[in-house]
Amino acid sequence: MSDLKVDIKFSRKGFKLDVQFELRNSHVTVILGKSGSGKSTLLRLLAGLEIPSAGTIKCNGETWTNISQSINFSPQKRITGFVFQDYALFENMNVADNIGFGVKKGARNKAIKGLLEKLELESVKDSYPAQLSGGQKQRVALGRALAIKPNLLLLDEPLSSIDFNMRKKLQRELKNIIRTIDCPVILVTHDLNEARLMADNLIVMDEGKHIRSGVAHEVFTNPVNKRTAHILGWQNFLPIKSLHNGYADTKWGRIFIDTTIVPDAEWLTIKPERIRFGKATKNSLSVTITEIEDYGAYKEFRCQVDDSLSIIVHRPSDEPTPSVNSVVNLHLSSSCLMLVRANTSTIEDVKLPFKQGCYAQKVS
């Protein structure tokens, strides 16, 4: 199995990236973040396509980068299979030649044959990239990257240029293929659903820093800090006055919680789809609906609590729902409320005791 240890800084035209993480025996690690968060740059740094301004990258005990010692392996020497966003297939070569490009002559035919079979591309082996569907192109790009038996397989938003319906199908296909690969995979995406579907471990990035990392399930259920929560789909944040065992006091009264206590938490958060309209109870807020948008599958309600707080609620479109300007009660289920800290700027703040997988750690 493999280890990857990354502690790098990178800066270009005002953009700064500063990332430290470690992967141990991790299979699929997803780097999730908004556009411009630096996730693709991080992937390029791992592949050797960009040179960090400082830091080290170690893979399986081998130093790929150590800027202070003037070590920086070329992309050729790292042997990372890189799948680009738009695949970057060689348009002048057919499918078989694309797959075999990185393999030495003696082993080429065998590698091509095996991957054509595995990726179900035998029927198009003589076709050129321009003649392929989106799904076939993706498989060729994967095959080309896998043919070199990479130390790491790096996927840079491999499905972002594909339309919604096709993307769902290809996500399943990609997941199935990835599950059969025996090298560590790092996939970059801004799509929350894609991250949920693929990730064993998750690294959340924002503004060039990684703000939360760990086993995917744990990160998704406990975002810890406000920025991570926002990226993972939490939209409503209520500031806390004081936190107690089982409840939190807020400007809008006492709210009971049934969740992991995060030390120094400053915010209560809840996802829009977890809020229900209902009668006044101990965990409810009286609000005025100011706006309703119908998105087909669900309606989005903008509810004003007072001048300082509005809450977003998503309810299924076929459910009977109140109209604009009506005054209603929102029920905040204690089990759906989450505590988060204020935005953090250091990795120390998000360090959690994960037993395996992906570690955010302070590097001294």
């Binding site: 050797g48 396509l49 992309p75 050729q76 680009f84 060689f90 348009e91 002048n92 070199i148």
Partner: protein, 227 residues
Amino acid sequence: MWGGLLMLNFEPIILTLKLAFVTVIILLVFSLPFAWWLSRTSSRFKPLLESLTALPLVLPPTVLGFYLLMLMGNNGIIGEYWFELTGSPLVFSFTGLVVASCFYSLPFVVQPLQAAFEKLDFKIIEAAYTLGASQVRTFIFVVAPMIRRGFITALVLGFAHTVGEFGVVLMVGGNIPGETQVISIAIYEAVETMDYSSAHWMSFGLLVFSTLVLLLVYSFNRKWSVN
């Protein structure tokens, strides 16, 4: 009229083809890295270098020829150095003609190559690198096939433009049979001496040659754009 064809002096034709061949080889060797650099750089000197490269497109050949004559003459910076080095003058020689032709045909080679490089998706080069391919292998198997249209256009236009040059050649090379008398100058001399038969056959040959060359370029471009 046909008799004129048999009487034709082939020396200027051979000299012209030799000049065009040598010029285009030198230009390709120089222009490939230069066009690559121009296509990738964000240097503040880029507009200046692009303008200097494109100058032969807008300047009268006599202007370019005049300054080249000044530079390459025995008292010019290049000419003086050349004379010290070789003991023979650079102007009114075949070598001088090659140097002048390289300046004159530069934009016809650099610009198609630069356009081809600019159209090239840099990610395919990076993809080749991550697959372990060296820079040389990447250029031969990935870059070259992708820029072949630009390459052929540069090659053919550079060659054809050198074949057709007149003003610069006359200024720098003069009219020495077997040394600097290229086809366009031979035509001019034939007309001057009222040898219209020779002028016709040489002009007609150049006309056919130029048509064929352009036909070749457009056919290649059409074929590759269909593919």
